[in-house]
Amino acid sequence: MELRLENLTKIFTNKTGTDLTAVDDLSITIESGTLVGLLGPSGCGKSTTLFMIAGLLKPTRGKIFFGEDDVTRLAPEKRGIGLVFQNYALYPHMTVYKNIMFPLENMDVPRDEAIQRVKDMAELVGIGSMLDRKPAQLSGGQQQRVAIARALVKKPRVLLLDEPLSNLDARLRLQMREEIKRIQRETGITTVFVTHDQEEAMSISDKMVVLDFGVQQQYSAPQEMYNTPANLFVAKFLGNPPINSFEAEVKGGFLMLNDQKFMKFKEVKDASYILGMRPEHFKVSEKDSEEKIKVDIKDIFHVGRDTMIHFELNGQNIRALVDSDSVGDKDKTVDLTCKRKRVYIFDKDTGKVINHG
């Protein structure tokens, strides 16, 4: 089932009459059977988007399509979706078994088949032995699996997950991440996965949408987004350690760093820009012919097989992650280089990336 959002907008009007645009003109197409990560900082409109897809919130403008059907005005119960809430929303007075059974009781399913489906789904998410317990008797991770089972048991056309892993510890989070991916692959359900954790989104998604203040920033595959960010916000939002960003000038076609000519950008106009360079994209220069820059090392840390160098570029503290063998502890200076396509030049006002071939 393909899922298509067209100019989706949600404006909340609060009591004093001021408007808040929680989702602003969002248009994306989610291909059938893919898992799309909806990523953004807290309060950027992720849950709002999800709730509009679910039908729990009415869009102010725009349309939602499931395949060819326009479901914008359709009530949530008619959409055939599964939703895992940010805090699970398991019915506290029902056992795990009854919680998972609940959606099926509202459908036209024979009893034997329903029982079988509940048991199969419980096995799939690994809570088969806890069917008689109440949600309060489960750990957060187990509750979350029940919530996923409840959403999946009715074989929804679309699965929506709202930060389902936010309450788990790091190890369980990793494990559940893989499990969700596996379940999604096995069932082939079109899935939207909301998270504010960029690493989680990168590892689980086939494609990602990044939102900021309700505005879509970029929609592409994780690695592509990482390597070719559309703007400064996306560049800053992805990656750990975060990208280095600082002001720099292009003068006479040359990018100037610490008053040295670093790299030639013929296509870029002479002006002041924001530059983005990821720590791991720096390399210690080995050839004379390369375009490079000499920097004074301020600090040096060894982190496993990599070495983190701190230095200054245009008055900003910069971090670079380089091969441990390429720099010595005693070195005072080092020649650094970077692939041309990994030097991101952003417009100073709009933050948009400037293509430079």
Binding site: L56, A75, P76, L83, N87, A89, Y91, M94, N106
Partner: protein, 354 residues
């Protein structure tokens, strides 16, 4: 002018700050004192919390409530036991002719207006009370549940409707009774006019037992609706909205949302209301007096609308030997309520989700 306002504002702020600081320091001092006293008590091994066992401490903490209960509840119960055992009690010179164990009970039970009616009359205190309890309690609970769910689902004028439904609670029972009696008047009453029933007699001369009972139950139900609606509405509003959203996603019909989500989630409140209204209905008195007078007998009727409590009162009024009968009657009422409450508690264990 502006500077004056500014001055006032700043001095006001200073004042509130110093007041807040004063209370802060007060709390600090008291904290320090408590800590000191605690340390002292610990040193002398006098700490209540560790020195005395739990039940002893519980007794100390409960003592104010226990004293009040003893004076106004336990002592009267014991006293009724005492009175119930007397035969031929004379209050004015405080003499008795003898003792009996079941004598007064037997008198009460054989009384034609208490349990089994004589052939030419209808209605007895126990029967009337049971009918009222077993009809008005379930009806009022169901009605108030539905009304609260309905009230909760409307948005405009919510406060207005809530106030309307709450009005009976703050209105005098007797006053409501008069209004109800007026509504059900045979000649020009609202009900007869509205339904075009002519001069149909409800509570006046010529009304049959069940008509009077219908009006009484209507009155008893309606009067208690307000409080129940308020309790249910408050607890429904306390339910997390996400459960309803989840139910909507799962295409749950309204009826099932009500029975499988709303009712179980407020079941502790429903249970509380059930127990208190069963007890309350067993003690029905005001409403009957308001409609049928202190005798509980509509003019010219061959039946009585008396409740158990009215029956008991009637014998308290008599004084003397009758007090023993009143005592026996109250002990029967006490027994019925006790048993019913225990049954409800037992039954609730499975159905109430805390």
């Amino acid at each position: 002018m502006a500077s004056l306002i500014k001055n006032i504002k700043s001095s006001f702020r200073k004042m509130t700050t110093s007041i807040k600081t004063f209370f802060w320091d007060l709390r600090r001092a008291s904290n320090a004192r408590k800590k000191k006293i605690g340390a002292y008590l610990d040193k002398k091994n006098l700490n209540l919390a560790t020195k005395f066992p739990g039940w002893a401490r519980a007794l100390v903490y409960l003592s104010p409530a226990l004293i009040v209960l003893s004076v106004f509840t336990f002592w009267p119960i014991i006293n009724s036991f005492r009175l119930m055992l007397y035969e031929g009690y004379n209050m004015s010179n405080n003499t008795i002719t003898g003792y009996t164990i079941f004598g007064n009970f037997i008198k009460v039970i054989n009384d034609e207006s208490f349990l089994f009616a004589a052939s030419h009359t209808e209605g007895t205190a126990v029967m009337n009370t049971l009918i009222i309890v077993f009809i008005s309690v379930p009806v009022s609970i169901f009605l108030s549940l539905f009304i609260s769910v309905a009230l909760n689902s409307i948005k405009p004028l919510k406060g207005f409707f809530q106030t309307i439904y709450f009005l009976p609670y703050v209105t005098n029972t007797i006053a409501i009774g008069l209004v109800i009696a007026y509504m059900f008047k045979a000649d020009g009453g609202l009900v007869n006019t509205l339904f075009g029933l002519g001069k149909y007699s409800w509570v006046e001369q010529g009304a049959e037992y069940w008509r009077s009972m219908f009006v009484l139950i209507f009155y008893a139900t309606w009067g208690t609706l307000a409080f129940k609606i308020m309790v249910f509405l408050t607890s429904i509003q306390g339910i997390d909205k996400q459960y309803y959203q989840a139910a909507a996603i799962d295409a749950t019909p309204r009826r099932r949302i009500f029975s499988r989500i709303t009712v179980p989630l407020i079941s502790p409140m429903i249970f509380y209301i059930l127990v208190t209204s069963v007890i309350g209905s067993f003690k029905i008195y005001n409403q009957i007096v308001a409609l049928f007078g202190v005798t509980g007998r509509p003019a010219g009727a061959n039946y009585t609308m008396q409740s158990i409590v009215m029956y008991i009162y009637q014998y308290i009024d008599g004084g003397g030997n009758n007090l023993s009968i009143a005592a026996a009657g109250s002990l029967i009422l006490f027994g019925i309520i006790l048993v019913l409450t225990l049954v409800q508690m037992q039954a609730s264990k499975k159905r109430v989700h805390y």
